[in-house]
C-alpha cells in the first residue's frame, strides 16, 4: 500500500515535525534559524515598491505645484523646496525661508550624520518595536521632508483629570496632578522657544473623555499630539520609561498601486492623488514612531542620570483610542512609574517635574530639528551642485 501513498502527500507529518523543531529552537535546544530583514524577499519587494510610489508621489506633487488651476494644496510650506531639491531645481526664496529652522541653527551638513533618518526598508513593517532601528541613520531622504509636514500646532494632552485620577501612588500622589503639571511646564518652556502654537487639552483638574481630547486636537488642527501619562506597575521593582504610538491598521494600498505601476499601467490624476493621500498616512505613522523614538530616547537618556536602574521599555505600537483617532503624528509617553516609592517622592518635587518636562522638550525638539535640518540640507546640497 505504501506505493500509492507517498509520504509527501501528507503534510501533517511535516507540520508536526515543524512544531517540534520550533519548540526545540525556542528552548535553545537547536540553533535559531532567523533570516535577516534583507534576506527576506518580501522586504525587498516592499522597499522597491515604496521607492516606486515615492517617485510617483514626487511626480504628482510637481504636477500640483505647477498646475495653475489646481488650488488644492497637499502640503504647505516646505514642500516646494523639497520637491525642487529632488528635482534638481533651485528653490524659491519663500521656500527657503519656510525651511529655516526656528531654533538656533548648527551646521546642517555635520549634524546630518547623526540625525535619525527613516529607512525605506522599514515602512510597512508593523514590527518596528525597536527604536534603535529608527535611530540608526542612513542617507535616505525622509518622506516627511518631501511632503513638507510642517509643524505649527503642538497639542499636549495631560492624561486623566477630574473624576479620573489615573494611577495613585502610595503616598496619594495622583497621576492626573503630575501629568497636568508636567504638561504645563512643557508648554511654557516650548512657548519660550517661539515658533510654535502650543495648546493643552486641559489646563485644570477636569474630566475629559478620550473623544473630547480627540475632538480638541481636530478642532485646533494639531500637527503633533503628545499625551503625557505616568505608569502604574505595582509589581515592578524598577522604574520604567516607555512611549507608545498608534498606527491604524496597516494598509498595503500603496504597494498594491506601485505594483501595478510596475506593469506600466497609466494613472489618472485621481489615482495619483489617492497614492499621495495614502503615503500621507504612512508618513503619519512613521512620524509618530519617530517622534516616539525621539522623546523616549531623550527621556530615558536623561533620567538615567538620576536613576541608574531605570529601564528603557522603548517605543511600542498600541491601540490607544486617543492616538488612533488623531490623524497627525501622535504619541503617548509614560514618563515614570508612580508605583515606585522613590519615583513618587521625586515626582513630588517641582524641580524633578521641570526636568522631566525639559527632557520631553528635548525629544520633541530633536524630532523637529531633524525635519528642519533635513529640509535645509536638501536645499544646501542642491546649492552646492
Amino acid at each position: 500500500m505504501w506505493l500509492n501513498r507517498r509520504r509527501t502527500e501528507n503534510p501533517k507529518t511535516a507540520m508536526l515535525k515543524g512544531v517540534y523543531l520550533d519548540n526545540m529552537r525556542m528552548s535553545g535546544k537547536l540553533p535559531q534559524e532567523r533570516p535577516t530583514l534583507l534576506q527576506r524577499p518580501l522586504f525587498r519587494k516592499t522597499g522597491r515598491a515604496l521607492l516606486i510610489v515615492l517617485g510617483l508621489a514626487i511626480v504628482s506633487f510637481s504636477f500640483h505645484g505647477w498646475s495653475v488651476s489646481n488650488s488644492r494644496v497637499h502640503a504647505p510650506a516646505a514642500q516646494p523646496a523639497a520637491t525642487a531639491a529632488v528635482k534638481g531645481l533651485a528653490p524659491s526664496n519663500k521656500a527657503m525661508a519656510a525651511a529655516q529652522p526656528q531654533t538656533q541653527e548648527p551646521d546642517g551638513a555635520s549634524v546630518m550624520e547623526q540625525i535619525p533618518i527613516w529607512d525605506f526598508d522599514l515602512p510597512g513593517d508593523q514590527k518596528v518595536a525597536d527604536y534603535n532601528l529608527l535611530l540608526s541613520g542612513n542617507d535616505h531622504i525622509r518622506l516627511s521632508t518631501l511632503f513638507g509636514l510642517d509643524v505649527k500646532t503642538i497639542i499636549i494632552d495631560p492624561g486623566h483629570g477630574g473624576a479620573d485620577p489615573g494611577a495613585i501612588g502610595l503616598h496619594g500622589i495622583k497621576e492626573k496632578e503630575i501629568t497636568l503639571d508636567v504638561a504645563q511646564r512643557l508648554k511654557e518652556s516650548m512657548q519660550k522657544q517661539g515658533g510654535y502654537n502650543i495648546l493643552l487639552t486641559r489646563t485644570e483638574d477636569r474630566t475629559l473623555s478620550l473623544a473630547e481630547r480627540v475632538a480638541f486636537a481636530k478642532e485646533h488642527k494639531a500637527d503633533l499630539f503628545i499625551s503625557v501619562h505616568v505608569n502604574s506597575l505595582p509589581d515592578r521593582a524598577v522604574n520604567i520609561i516607555e512611549t507608545y504610538y498608534f498606527g491604524p491598521p496597516l494598509t498595503s494600498d500603496t504597494l498594491q498601486l506601485a505594483e501595478q505601476e510596475n506593469k506600466e499601467s497609466h494613472y489618472t490624476i485621481r489615482e495619483l492623488d489617492a497614492i499621495v493621500q495614502d503615503i500621507g498616512n504612512t508618513v503619519k505613522r512613521q512620524e509618530s514612531a519617530r517622534l516616539a523614538a525621539s522623546i523616549q530616547d531623550s527621556l530615558f537618556r536623561n533620567v538615567k542620570h538620576h536613576d541608574a536602574k531605570v529601564k528603557d521599555f522603548g517605543i511600542k505600537m498600541a491601540p490607544f483610542v486617543v492616538l488612533s483617532q488623531i490623524e497627525v503624528p501622535s504619541v503617548l509617553v509614560e514618563i515614570s512609574c508612580l508605583t515606585q516609592k522613590n519615583e513618587e517622592k521625586k515626582l513630588a518635587s517641582a524641580e524633578y517635574r521641570a526636568q522631566i518636562a525639559s527632557y520631553i522638550e528635548e525629544g520633541v525638539g530633536n524630532y523637529l530639528d531633524v525635519q528642519h535640518f533635513k529640509t535645509l540640507s536638501g536645499v544646501k546640497q542642491n546649492e552646492r551642485k
Binding site: P11, K12, A14, M15, L16, K17, G18, V19, Y20, D22, N23, M24, M26, S27, P35, R40, P41, L42, K45, Q126, K127, S209, A211, V214, N231, S232, L233, P234, D235, R236, Y244, G247, P248, P249, L250, T251, S252, D253, L255, Q256, E259, K316, M317, A318, P319, F320, V321, S324, Q325
Partner: protein, 338 residues
C-alpha cells in the same frame, strides 16, 4: 487514533479576549480572558474567592483588580502580574476541563496570538509547566488551520479581539512571509462603535463592555438585515436607540485593511497557487461571526478572479480543537525529546 488511557492530551487557545480548552477526555470549555484579584481583604471575604474569571470578574470589577493579560499593546506591564494572570487562566481552564487529576501524563499544546507573543512563548511554556508534563507552543491561526485540515493551498483569516491574523498554508510550517497581522479586529470595531455612539447619543450611558456585547449580538456588514435597536439608559431611564448605521460603519471599518492584506499576501505567490488559495479561504475567530462578512469578502476579492470564502463551523473552539489535534497527532518521540 486509539487513546492511551494514561495520557491526557489537551489543546489550549490563549486568546486576547477568550481562552478555550479542548481535551482528549472529551471536555470543551472556554472563559473570557479576564482575571481579577480582590482589591483587598474585605473584597476577598465578600466575593469568597481568591481569584475570579471572565464574566464573573467583569461583574465584580469594582472590587477587583482586573487583568486582561494577553491584550496586545495595552499590556501595560509585561510583568509578573500579567504572567500570574495567564497562569491563573490556564489553571482555571484545566480545572474546568477536569484535566487536573487521574492521569499519568498530561501533554499540552498551547496556541498563542501570532504577533504579540513572539518573544514570550518561553514564558508561556514555563507557566504551563505546573499543569502538564510536556508542553509545546504554537502560533494561532496555524493551530486553527491544522484543526480544519487546511494544510495546503489554503488561507486562514483569524479575526480575534486585538488582532486579525492572516496565514497562508502551503504544505509546510508557515514562515514569516506567509503570515500577516493587522490591528483591525474586534477591539478596533468596539472602539469605533463606542466613539460613534458617544457622538450620536451623548446622553446615553454605556460601558465598553456593553458596546462589545451589542456588537456580538448585532454585528453585520453590508445591507442591514433589520434595524438594530438597543436599550440604553438616558438619565437612568432605559431608552431605545437606533444604532443600525453606527453598527454597520464600525464593523465595516475593518474591511479595507482585511481586503488589502489578503490581496497583498496572495500576490506574493505564483499565479497557479494564487488561484487555489483564493478558492480556499477560511474565516476564523470571534469576528468571523459578523453577518455578511463572508459574502462581502467574496465580492471584494472577486475582482482578481473567482474565489470561495467559508466560515469555520465552531469559531470559539477552532484554536483549541486544532491544538488538541496537534497534541494527539504529535509522535511520542517528539514529546519525549522536547
Amino acid at each position: 487514533m486509539s487513546e492511551n488511557k494514561e495520557v491526557l492530551n489537551i489543546g489550549i487557545d490563549l486568546g486576547t479576549s477568550r481562552s478555550a480548552i479542548a481535551a482528549s477526555n472529551g471536555s470543551k470549555e472556554w472563559v473570557e480572558s479576564y482575571v481579577g484579584w480582590p482589591k483587598d481583604f474585605i473584597a476577598q471575604k465578600v466575593l469568597g474567592k481568591p481569584v475570579l474569571f471572565g464574566e464573573e470578574a467583569l461583574e465584580n470589577r469594582l472590587s477587583l483588580e482586573i487583568f486582561r493579560p494577553l491584550e496586545r499593546g495595552v499590556i501595560k506591564d509585561g510583568s509578573e502580574r500579567s504572567e500570574a494572570a495567564v497562569k491563573e487562566l490556564i489553571r482555571h481552564l484545566i480545572q474546568m476541563a477536569k484535566a487536573d487529576n487521574g492521569y499519568k501524563q498530561t501533554r499540552a499544546i498551547v496556541g498563542v496570538p501570532a504577533e504579540s507573543f513572539k518573544i514570550n512563548k518561553l514564558a508561556i511554556k514555563r507557566l504551563v509547566a505546573d499543569f502538564a508534563d510536556a508542553i509545546m507552543v504554537v502560533s494561532e491561526p496555524f493551530s486553527v488551520a491544522y484543526g480544519i485540515n487546511a494544510l495546503n493551498n489554503a488561507m486562514i483569516i483569524d479575526i480575534g479581539a486585538g488582532t486579525t491574523d492572516f496565514c497562508i498554508m502551503h504544505g509546510t510550517m508557515p514562515s514569516e512571509v506567509d503570515q500577516r497581522t493587522i490591528l483591525a479586529a474586534g477591539d478596533y470595531i468596539d472602539q469605533q462603535l463606542e466613539m460613534m455612539l458617544h457622538e450620536r447619543y451623548p446622553k446615553a450611558d454605556f460601558t465598553p463592555t456593553m458596546v462589545r456585547r451589542m456588537k456580538e449580538q448585532y454585528s453585520f456588514v453590508g445591507e442591514p438585515p433589520h434595524p438594530v435597536m438597543v436599550e440604553l439608559p438616558v438619565d437612568g431611564k432605559p431608552t431605545m436607540h437606533d444604532i443600525t448605521k453606527e453598527m454597520r460603519q464600525a464593523c465595516e471599518s475593518i474591511l479595507p485593511g482585511m481586503v488589502e492584506t489578503t490581496l497583498d499576501l496572495i500576490a506574493g505567490f505564483d499565479p497557479e497557487f494564487q488561484k487555489k488559495v483564493r478558492n480556499n479561504i477560511t474565516l476564523a475567530g470571534g469576528g468571523s461571526q459578523i453577518r455578511g462578512l463572508r459574502e462581502y469578502l467574496e465580492g471584494a476579492l472577486r475582482e482578481i478572479g473567482p474565489c470561495r470564502v467559508s466560515v469555520i463551523s465552531d469559531p470559539l473552539f477552532g484554536g483549541a480543537a486544532g491544538a488538541l489535534a496537534l497534541a494527539v497527532d504529535m509522535p511520542d518521540e517528539y514529546w519525549e525529546k522536547n
